[in-house]
């Protein structure tokens, strides 16, 4: 899930300074689960904006905000409400904000900070697990990602900084490689640690530029 956190209200007000009339768009998926951009949060923000003298011309929880075709359909059908707004405040991840911006010709503003791709440990407690590097090596590391969980993203860790299974940068952070070793030991696959994992192909990550995937037609 994409973990988001709502921006401080003062920050939102600042970029909405020149927008007296605002439309609010949330998202049914991640932002609803994170309670940053569901129905409840949209209504709360609506109230807070009205208290500050803004006109809220309407709100919607897009299903989901990153679906351009759905967004376009909704905006077409609710053109009137959107026409009344100077800008759209999007309560979703950064992808959601941009997808809304690409779905109609209107200024968009981010209501949330997009933090990471993570798992829900319990409500309100999320942890990062994947950095979308484009080429998964979990088969070599007992199903635990060193790119994410090692603070140095070492492919052949651990470094010399771990102590009692904790990372040198913060005693609250577990050493990713300690986790990998423990897991491989349990699976009786410690021999995998003898292999030198080669330098990673970062061109498949963000370092290679904008990533695209087209299935069913000609693949790029």
């Amino acid at each position: 899930m994409i973990i988001t956190k709502q921006k401080p209200f003062e920050e939102i007000l600042k970029f909405l300074e020149s927008s007296p009339r605002v439309f609010i768009a949330g998202c049914t998926l991640c932002a609803t689960t994170c309670k940053t951009g569901g129905e409840e949060e949209a209504k709360k923000i609506e109230k807070k904006l009205q208290d500050k003298g803004k006109v809220v011309s309407g709100w919607v929880i897009l299903d989901p905000a990153c679906h351009i075709l759905n967004n376009k359909k909704y905006f077409r059908e609710n053109k009137e409400k959107l026409d009344q707004a100077d800008s759209i405040l999007v309560l979703a991840c950064g992808n959601g904000v941009q997808a809304v911006g690409e779905s109609m010709d209107k200024k968009v503003y981010p209501g949330c900070d997009t933090l990471f791709l993570g798992e829900i440990i319990r409500f309100g407690n999320y942890e990062e697990r994947c950095q979308l590097c484009g080429e998964c090596i979990l088969d070599k590391t007992g199903g635990i990602c060193p790119i994410t969980r090692c603070s140095k993203s070492l492919l052949n860790g651990p470094c010399g900084g771990a102590e009692d299974g904790k990372c040198e940068i913060d005693p609250e952070i577990e050493c990713g490689w300690q986790l990998i070793i423990d897991q491989l030991e349990k699976q009786d696959k410690l021999h995998l640690l003898e292999e030198i994992i080669p330098p990673k192909d970062w061109s498949k990550s963000r370092d290679g530029g904008l990533r695209r995937l087209t299935i069913g037609r000609k693949e790029k």
């Binding site: 990673k200 970062w202 990550s205």
Partner: protein, 305 residues
Amino acid sequence: MKAGSNLERVLESGQFAVTAELGPPKGADAEVVKKKGSLLRDCADAINITDNQTAIARMSSIACGVILNQLNLEPVIQVVCRDRNRLAIQSDILGAAALGIKNVLCLSGDHQKFGNHPQAKNVYDIDAIHLIQVLKKMRDEKKLLEGDDLTIEPKLYIGAVENPYADPYEFRVIRLAKKIRAGCDFVQTQGVFDVKKFKDWMKTITDQGLDRKVHILAGIIPIKSAGMVRYMRDYVSGVSVPEEIVTRMENAKDPRQEGINICLEIIDELKEIPGLHGIHIMAIAWETVVRIIVDKAGLAPRPAV
């Protein structure tokens, strides 16, 4: 004087500067650097050394710079943001300055996709404009980026690059003004073939008075063959080559000589442009041509300042 380099003295004394480019070897070969450096002796006020240009790993620009210093040739070292984060860049700059480097040219760096390590992770922790700010802060405030005091500041003459031909055209001068605000002392441009367009760009610069805040050196790329000029036209981003030059190269009996003639004609026109303070000759793998061009363009001998 900010750095007291030869390049700084030439530019600050209002003379038309000449710099030339030197590409480091793909090997631990100091002799190649010395040989190329010697070919450029007395032709240029400073020799500009590329930093892993086109993202191909080569001998470091700082190391080459030190080798040139040992031969009494003045280097300008290029520093790109692609390969080093803010820690490494600052540390390398302190080291370079301690080893006698006085001129630094700040660039973003070609994307690693174009080089021989396309799978590399890029850094771009800071960009070229930040890099100028960092160097200026180290030099003028005697501080590291995050504010720690330096015992001795690196005395640097700070350079930047700009491409008058890149898109979006309207933004180029705004970006140059940003680099000047960030603190650069001189600017090198992309290779000039389309003099008309370059003049228009310079006019915008002088209209805004930017030529009084920074020294602009126009890039010169000597062309060897019709193939090379077609390649520049078709594949080198941000280079604008008029069709007339391509045709002349295609019809030339002696393409190298024609390439030199074209260069000389361009330089003649450039010398007349108000606000332009010099040229930077990029003759990678054709270093011998620099002396010919400088002599025939009436730019020799170089001033002793």
